[in-house]
Amino acid sequence: MNLHDQLIAYKTIVIKEVLRFGRIWVQTIVPPVITVSLYFVIFGNLIGSRIGEMDGFSYMDYIVPGLIMMAVITNSYANVVSSFYGCKFHHNIEELLVSPIPSYLIVLGFMTGGVARGLAVGAAVTAVSMFFTELQFHNPVVIITIVLLTSMLFSLAGLLNAVFARSFDDISIVPTFVLTPLTYLGGVFYTIHLLPEFWQNVSRLNPILYMVNAFRYGFLGVSDIGIFWSYAIIIGFTAALYGIAVYVLHIGLGIRK
């Protein structure tokens, strides 16, 4: 395929993916917005006013970036894992296999679909948060690059989950038992400086901590982690997952008999 044809093929996957979650927006966009709004009301407003300050900010202001990030992570992941597994389940992955699309374009196409949903939900949640607090934008470049990279990373992770999944159960195991705990323990609700030294170090093994903190830095200018480390880790993970995803699709793992 020449570059021109590849571009068309890539656009086709992206359009198809966006139409897919757009068609079912009541299931894909609305629920996360409601969930996060509840967090704002309960943790931010009701309980938050009793917690007082965190790292020099009102508790509401402190948790907003983390909650946006949480929505982006879950939705990027969920979009690709369910879409790609659906393609396997209904066998319409074969439409891609019989076509000349190279594996890396399939990866990029599905990843972009996941990023689109992650950002759509992220934007909606951000808009809602403006009813509860006045957002500051300390460093917009950091905000945008971190949210983009994180969304890419979890879209790729969702893709890999779908490639290895053999049943619908397999696509909910990772989100339930890995993603959710790591996110809740990833500094969304507290600064790790509140933890004993040992647990601070354990927390540093959690990649999501780096993303949440870098993202919070973009809004508030405070972070538990050096920003450089955040970028290094996110970019490292993204590149690794991308490489693995292209490789497994290329050898046909889980999709070719």
Partner: protein, 311 residues
């Protein structure tokens, strides 16, 4: 003329250790209308899956026109359209989207994709359904949708895996007509079917596989030529009592107004009629007892190709 498809010593062992193909070699000429036959589980879909990149091969070579799939699969795929045995579209997608997306995967602009979709949906009688979700189509419509989808990138080799399964008689006949027209326009067609009348009607060349091996590869004419005897059923105007002895034809009485007769293919039917009218027996109508190819097919599967018992 060149080959549209060349398969050389193809083998496939599935992940569970089952050997579905045990060395199949096959050539299909460009422009041919080719039947790939064999009983359930013979390995037809496996062979097709390998040619179309849905199944990985264990060993062997496959060439599509000038392109070896090991070296140049991307070019090969552009020349190839597949109508698979099982429905494999996203059932929630609208019919038209399915075609436009498939075109897009081949690098065809959306605008052109919509034009092609219109053309093929109209040709296959699905234009009214273009906005329906695929799950709202009937079984026969879904088959036609898969044919339209296989054509949007205008392939030169079309492979259809049981395209007429579950299709009503009228649609089957219009599908035959459609496929003949495609073939006349220069598209090479390979088809699997369990309907031997269909194979006999459409195809010029034929391969039969059984248990992962090729047991026959010849022209339809030659194959049918191997049948020496044909059995006909005769319906009579008036009931007959005792049967006259006719040499050398073997006449059997089924009931008072129905006879069965085996006729050597070299003999003319006229002679039979003459003899019958001499005995005052008037034939109202005559038909083939069963599809000739069907008889031969069963015979070959039981006995191997040339009448030898298989181990």
């Amino acid at each position: 003329m060149d080959n549209a498809l060349t398969i050389d010593n193809l083998t496939k062992t599935y992940a569970n250790g089952f050997q579905a193909l045990k060395g199949i070699s096959l050539e299909v000429r460009e422009g041919d209308f080719f039947a790939l036959l064999g009983p359930n589980g013979a390995g037809k879909s496996t062979t097709i899956g390998i040619v179309c990149a849905l199944v990985t091969k264990s060993a062997g070579k496959v060439r599509i026109f000038d392109h070896d799939i090991d070296r140049d699969f991307s070019r090969a795929k552009r020349l190839l359209g597949l109508v698979p045995q099982e429905f494999n579209f996203n059932i929630f997608e609208p019919v038209e989207e399915i075609l436009v997306n498939q075109a897009g995967y081949f690098g065809i602009e959306r605008k052109t994709g919509f034009e092609r979709a219109e053309r093929y949906l109209k040709l296959l009688g699905l234009w009214d359904k273009r906005r329906s979700q695929a799950r709202e189509l009937s079984g026969g419509m879904k088959r036609r949708l898969m044919i339209a989808r296989a054509l949007v990138h205008e392939p030169r080799l079309l492979i259809l895996d049981e395209p007429t399964a579950g299709v009503d008689i009228e649609v089957r006949h219009s599908m035959w007509k459609f496929l003949r027209e495609l073939n006349a326009a220069g598209i090479t067609i390979i088809l699997t079917t369990h309907n031997l009348e269909e194979a006999e009607n459409l195809c010029r060349n034929i391969a039969i596989i059984d248990e992962g091996r090729l047991i026959e590869n010849t022209s339809m004419k030659q194959l049918l030529g191997r049948l020496h005897m044909e059995t006909f059923v005769l319906e009579l105007r008036h009931p007959v009592g005792r049967l006259p002895r006719l040499e050398p034809d073997c006449l059997r009485k089924i009931d008072d107004t129905t006879l069965e007769v085996d006729i050597d293919r070299d003999r003319s039917v006229n002679a039979l009629y003459e003899q019958l009218s001499r005995h005052g027996i008037e034939v109202l109508s005559m038909r083939n007892k069963t599809n000739r190819l069907e008889q031969l097919f069963l015979h070959m599967l039981q006995n191997g190709t040339d009448g030898e018992e298989r181990p």
